[in-house]
């Protein structure tokens, strides 16, 4: 039974990783914001789903796969360092909030916070790597786009979790208890 659950979890994680990668690649084709580097970050919907449905390690694995493979697929290996560092910091924030003993913030607010942190870290890492402070002029724009992206991701994730019956993934009683 344990093996079957492990297989189910790996299968679900694979599906979420595939979804996150597809969205990451498609988002690279256009931008809803006229700000360099700004994206809605819809791939993070899958990271939040992995954190909630599966666990912290799975959420981290998804972010690593999304950042590394996503940047390689889009032909931009140089961006791995920005995407990965920002992704890991923001998913750690989300995990700490989601796994808190009692509800501190709603998932929507957590997502907004994570998106803003993601953009701050990405901008800071870029300034460090490029050796210039000039890119800090983008910070106010990135904070605002982070709020818009975070709201979109948060509301979408909440709706998906609300509408998806838990039995769709975890029909086994032992899994329900586990968390």
């Amino acid at each position: 039974m344990k093996g079957r659950n492990a297989a189910k979890r790996i299968a679900l994680l694979s599906v979420l990783c595939a979804g996150a990668l597809c969205v990451f690649v498609v988002e690279n084709l256009f931008s809803p914001f006229p700000v360099p580097g700004a994206k809605l970050g819809l791939g993070n919907v899958f990271a939040i789903l992995a954190l909630i449905w599966l666990g912290v390690p799975e959420g981290m694995i998804l972010v690593i796969i999304k950042s590394v493979l996503g940047c390689l697929i889009t032909g931009n290996p140089g961006a791995v360092i920005y995407s990965l560092s920002a992704g890991l910091v923001s998913v750690s924030f989300s995990a700490a909030m989601i796994y808190a003993k009692r509800e501190i913030f709603t998932l929507t607010a957590i997502s907004v916070g994570a998106a803003v942190i993601n953009n701050i870290v990405q901008n800071a890492v870029f300034c460090l790597v490029a050796g210039t402070v000039s890119a800090f002029y983008l910070m106010p724009y990135l904070l605002v786009t982070g709020v818009i992206g975070g709201l979109t991701v948060g509301v979408t994730s909440t709706l998906i979790i609300k509408k998806t019956p838990s039995s769709a993934f975890f029909s086994d009683a032992s899994e329900h208890k586990g968390g």
Binding site: N28, L29, F30, S31, P34, V35, P36, G37, L51, I52, W53, T74, G75, N76, G78, A79, Y82, I98, Y99, E103, I104, F105, T106, L107, T108, A109, V112, G113, V116, I120, F126, A130, G131, T132, V133, S134, A135, F136, Y137, M139, P140, L143, V144, V147, G154, V155, T158, I161, K162, S166, H176, K177, G178, G179
Partner: protein, 154 residues
Amino acid sequence: MNDRISRVKNGKFFIKRDILLYAVILIAVIAAVTVLILAQDKGELEKIEIYYDKILIYVYDNSLKNGIITEAGKKYVTEKSEGNELRVVVTVPEGYNVIVFDGEGAKVTEADCSVRADCVNFSGKITKSGDAIFCVPHSLSVVGVGTEGEEVLL
């Protein structure tokens, strides 16, 4: 059903405590805008410098309206005058960027860095000192420098 899922399923999109987080973000936005307004050097444009991987490869003198390819930049940079404009092509191992200097400033007009090409489509034009255009995939920076000195920390 585990705690996390039931918390979201039975929860709302907004609770009063969220205001705290949104307030912190609002303060951060206000602080960033204030710093941007106060600290940004938006003086007269003296020079425009192009860096590849933190190495200065090209300097355009905005008052003399001509540019100099640095020693390090010789293998990456070619320039060509077209009417009133100077067209500089930077070809690095990662790809190429075309930067056009028109006497008032500089703009990246072409690049093969990505489909979105943020450096071309979303980065505007350098017309003041402190303005900058970055091409992350090509590790390229185009920075406006004023009389106060350069902005790049090298």
